[in-house]
């Protein structure tokens, strides 16, 4: 059996194909490109699987960025939080954990007990604790995103609540002549500080980190202070799409 899972994110669309319980294909397309190049609209969004070079699909499940239309024709649309939890369960085999998913614009914290969601919280109002914030700050520092996350020692203090004000605050610190390593660490630390209040009601031993920001070493380093085990999954960005496949294979 072949199951297709599509996670329509705010920055990228993630696609995964599962064959008899194993992920056999993964790909990513920018969100803009996905809708422009691979979709047509006829009352409902129709995805051109031929163009995506995906065939012989028995089941298709979609999920994604809650404020957008994630209901694709011929797909079963499922709740995004559920998709990520199933992704976490499939990728770790755990049934009791806290899931932290940090995407381009959204943060989700979910408590899973006995394989079921028992608590959750989402960011609201601002995306200053998400991937887009890190991207913008890396642009200001003129450093690749991956390299920025290599540094976590002695972070410079950045206090702005707002992502845009943080940019000017960072520029101020650059002007003070502060070392690039401390600037990089400061960016990741400021994101961690914004996550902390959201996570305060989600104590537990095992924290699974997913979403694009899960590749940020510095953020994970800071989270180690609060959780016994920080569990990384192999494909943190594909977690939602993988969860869709897992849902399709297990429950449909």
């Amino acid at each position: 059996m072949r199951t297709l899972g599509i996670d329509l994110g705010s920055r990228e669309v993630k696609i995964a194909v599962m064959e008899d319980g194993r992920i056999v294909n993964k790909s990513k397309v920018s969100t803009m490109t996905f809708y422009r190049e691979y979709c047509s609209f006829d009352g409902k969004i129709l995805v051109d699987l031929n163009k995506l070079e995906i065939d012989k699909i028995d089941k298709a499940i979609s999920t994604g960025y809650g404020r957008n239309n994630t209901d694709l024709r011929m797909f079963k649309a499922i709740n995004e939080i559920k998709a990520h939890v199933y992704g976490g369960i499939y990728q770790t085999g755990l049934k009791d954990f806290i899931l932290l998913d940090i995407g381009g614009q959204d943060v989700k914290v979910v408590k899973v007990e006995k394989g079921i969601i028992t608590d959750l919280d989402l960011n609201e109002k601002c995306a200053a604790s998400c991937g887009r914030y890190l991207e913008n700050m890396a642009n200001v520092l003129e450093i690749p995103l991956n390299s920025m996350s290599d540094y976590y020692d002695n972070p410079v203090e950045l206090n702005s609540t707002c992502a845009v004000f943080s940019e000017s605050e960072l520029i101020g610190k650059i002007a003070e002549g502060i070392d690039i390593k401390r600037l990089c660490a400061g960016v990741s630390y400021s994101l961690y500080k914004r996550l902390k209040p959201l996570m305060s009601n989600f104590n537990g031993k095992d924290l699974i980190v997913t979403g694009g920001v899960a590749t940020n070493k510095a953020v994970k380093h800071y989270l180690e202070r609060d959780y016994e085990n920080i569990i990384s999954v192999e494909e943190p960005q594909f977690n939602g799409a993988i969860g869709c496949c897992y849902y399709g294979e297990s429950f449909l």
Partner: protein
């Protein structure tokens, strides 16, 4: 007939024998359109913000409705009730004490009920006559409960409403019996409405009464109301006297005794998941740790405070919980 206010279920047989009309202050508070006014009255009189809304509501309902006498449960319920009774006494309300002994030994329960009977000058024999009369109504409540979980003919809310009313028989046992009989006759003619997910509700009755309707939107229904059912004394038939009846009552004693009964009901009623309701600022929220550990079904703990309807976040949490329970159910049905 003189009214007497109750802060929780007590041996109501004793009070009725003594010629009182019992009034459960919880029901008086929560069914009022002005429920929030009662909380405000208590806060104005000095009750802290960080205190359970039930206690404040009971206080407001008591003073506003001119209740002159109450039974204050000073052991086996929360310690806030003890302080509440003391403040009511200060306001000139007569408080009769009652205790559910923490030891939970049959002899100790008997001693407490005997003390209670002495306070109201009634004999064991007189009380037993009333108990047998009331147990006829308790049996009807048991039938209504069976119609809920065996035949799916009674909704979770209706089950809650009738069982919770047995703490004071809505102030008139005869009238309540008629109402219950009529209702049972009516529901027996219904077609059963079977929902996919079978839920248990455990913990004190909710402030947020809309929870019953809310879960039904997700193809789920409550087929078990733990504490409300205890208020109705479902095992009254196996008790040979009033002492045994109030000994075999789970709510005021230790959590492990409660858990034994909950486990049995999970099995008998084929329950898929549990909603554990606790009140903000209540010690019972701590018991969630033990319940989660000992009960082998998924549990979600939701907390109510002053609002009588579910807030958006709790709705989102319940929705996600029910969504996943529904998935699991699909698999187990295959």
């Amino acid at each position: 007939m003189k009214k007497i206010g109750l802060t929780t279920t007590v041996p109501v047989e004793v009070l009725i024998t003594a010629g009182y009309r019992p009034v459960d202050l919880n029901n008086l508070f929560i069914t009022s359109d002005d429920y929030s006014k009662y909380i405000e009255i208590a806060e104005r009189d000095g009750f802290p913000k960080s205190l359970c809304a039930w206690i404040k509501g009971i206080y407001g309902a008591c003073v506003e409705n001119g209740i002159k006498e109450i039974v204050g449960v000073i052991e086996g319920d929360c310690s806030n009730t003890k302080a509440l009774a003391e403040v009511l006494e200060l306001r000139g309300i007569r408080v009769y004490p009652f205790s559910y002994p923490q030891s939970h030994r049959k002899e100790d329960v008997e001693v407490e009920i005997k003390k209670f009977m002495d306070i109201f000058h009634v004999s064991y024999e007189e009380v037993e006559v009333v108990r047998k009369r009331l147990n006829r109504i308790r049996r009807l409540a048991g039938e209504l409960d069976r119609l809920t979980y065996s035949h799916d003919k009674v909704s979770g809310f209706e089950n809650h409403l009738y069982q919770v009313s047995l703490s004071d028989f809505n102030g008139d046992a005869d009238e309540f019996e008629d109402e219950l009989e009529t209702f049972i006759m009516k529901v027996k003619k219904r077609d059963g409405s079977c929902k996919k997910v079978r839920l248990g509700y455990i913990g004190v009755p909710p402030m947020t009464i809309d929870i019953y309707d809310f879960v039904e939107r997700f193809d789920a229904s409550f087929v078990y109301n733990e504490v409300q059912r205890e208020f109705a004394f479902p095992r009254c038939e196996v008790a040979s006297n009033i002492y045994e009846q109030y000994y075999d009552y789970t709510y005021p004693y230790d959590v492990n005794y409660r858990i034994k009964e909950i486990k049995k009901q999970i099995e008998d009623r084929r329950i898929d998941g549990i909603v554990h309701y606790t009140q903000a600022f209540c010690y019972r929220a701590v018991e969630n740790i033990i319940l989660k550990d000992k009960l082998n079904v998924p549990i979600i703990n939701i907390e109510g405070d002053k609002m009588n309807s579910l807030d958006a976040r709790t709705k989102l949490r319940l929705e996600a919980f029910l969504d996943m329970l529904g998935d699991l159910k699909e698999v187990s049905c295959v």
